[in-house]
Amino acid sequence: MGAGPRRIDNAYLEVDRWVRAAVGNALQEFEQLTREEDEVRAQIAELERKLPELQRAQKAAKAEARRAEQDRARSLYESLFDVLGEQSRAIELRAIAVREAEVAGDSELLAELVDDPARAAALQEYLDYKKRVLPGLNAFPDSYRGAVHEHHLAVKAELVAYFEDREPWYPPVRGKDLDVDVLVAVDVPEEDLAVVMAVLPISAEVQLKWSDRHDGLATAFAARCVEGMYRAAIGLGQPEAQVVMGGHRGLLVAEIQLVGDPGELGPAVAGGMQAAIGRGLELQAARVHGQVKVVSVDDVLPPEVFPIDDDEEDGDAG
């Protein structure tokens, strides 16, 4: 058989062969891809199995961070109030020394009267009245008692006028300087409205039970702080602002509501307080020095007032 043109049958055969080869190749590739897909799916399944575990670990890490933050806030809050509590007790102790110095100072004032016999006699008469005159007065008629009492009041009025004319004098206390702190923080309940609060190293009883207490050094320290707050309010053009006082963890807290930029109000009030404490002659004599510090409001409010919101935390993370 000689060579001739290709036959139709051959054309079929060739095309079939080419198609079989192409299909075979494609199937091989398909199988390879299927194997790869299976591998990827296996990996995905493995990762999905691990995911909840990772999420649990992630949440635990976040919770730990929150705990650490809250622990810091609580530790700081408790530590600040503990320190101020210690300082308030130190002021109460110093107040005893001040009282002793005042009594000693009274003796010195009396000694000064040696050169003023008439006044010294009046003072002696005044001091003798309750001790020696009053007990025996009942034996006398009303008219006599009234005259004696009237005379006593006249002597007292003369002596009161004498002591009022003198510049008050604060007998210096012997001993070391006593350094204490005052914390000032600003809370902003509304825009442009700030509550400036001051935590004092003074027992809350100084204000809460003032009518039952002898007001000594602790009252003077608190008074100087309040003076500074009012001076600051006047300086800020808000003389109507009112200092409100109360207790927190046994310490005296003074608050004043002011309008303005919170970033400026805190330092302005702290500055006013610092100046008033520094000027207090009775504090100088008692060797008590107050340092006013502006701190974050988070440091002086209980951590539960500013709890860290779990949802908010998760939202931020997401």
Partner: protein, 166 residues
């Protein structure tokens, strides 16, 4: 030894004026007299007048008889506010004049009564450099308040103040 002859301490001055010691400090600051925290006895009446402090609850006050003691206190205090013609924002008085001299518990109730009446629009409250001041809002509210004082019938929010304490 000389305490009764020397100028008064803040607490002593506060007792004599009828305000808190730290309110005394405020007065001293406003008068430029805070150099010393000792107050001459001769200044007490001046300070009291400067602060607008008045004592309304004197022994001869005509107390309103009422089954509810605290409501009686409120009716008496509000009656005194009206009788003294503290009506309108130009006729204010220190808010604590309404209860000065009463026991602390009763002072607290009257304080809440004032707040409730202010919220009801009957009283006018204003912060000043001499403390919180109060007046009956205007002549119309004065008529309504007078009627309430006479009958003892107040808005529920006001009545709550003494009912909570009962």
């Amino acid at each position: 030894m000389l305490d009764k002859l020397k100028p008064l301490t803040l607490g002593e001055a506060a007792r004599q004026i009828g305000i808190d010691p730290f309110e005394v400090v405020r007065l001293l600051v406003q008068r430029g007299e805070a150099k010393h925290l000792r107050i001459p006895r001769s200044k007490i009446s001046e300070l009291r007048e400067f602060a607008g402090v008045e004592v309304w609850w004197t022994p001869d006050v005509a107390v309103v008889e009422d089954d509810n003691h605290l409501r009686g206190r409120a009716r008496t205090a509000l009656g005194m506010l009206l009788d003294r013609e503290h009506i309108g924002k130009d006729a204010v008085t220190r808010v604590d004049n309404l209860w000065r001299g009463l026991p602390l518990r009763e002072q607290g109730v009257l304080d809440r009564v004032v707040e409730a009446l202010a919220a009801e629009g009957m009283l006018y409250l204003t912060r000043t450099e001499r403390g919180l001041q109060v007046a009956v809002k205007n002549k119309n509210t004065a008529r309504s308040l007078r009627k309430a004082v006479k009958t003892g019938a107040f808005a529920a929010s006001v009545a709550e103040c003494w009912e909570q304490q009962a």
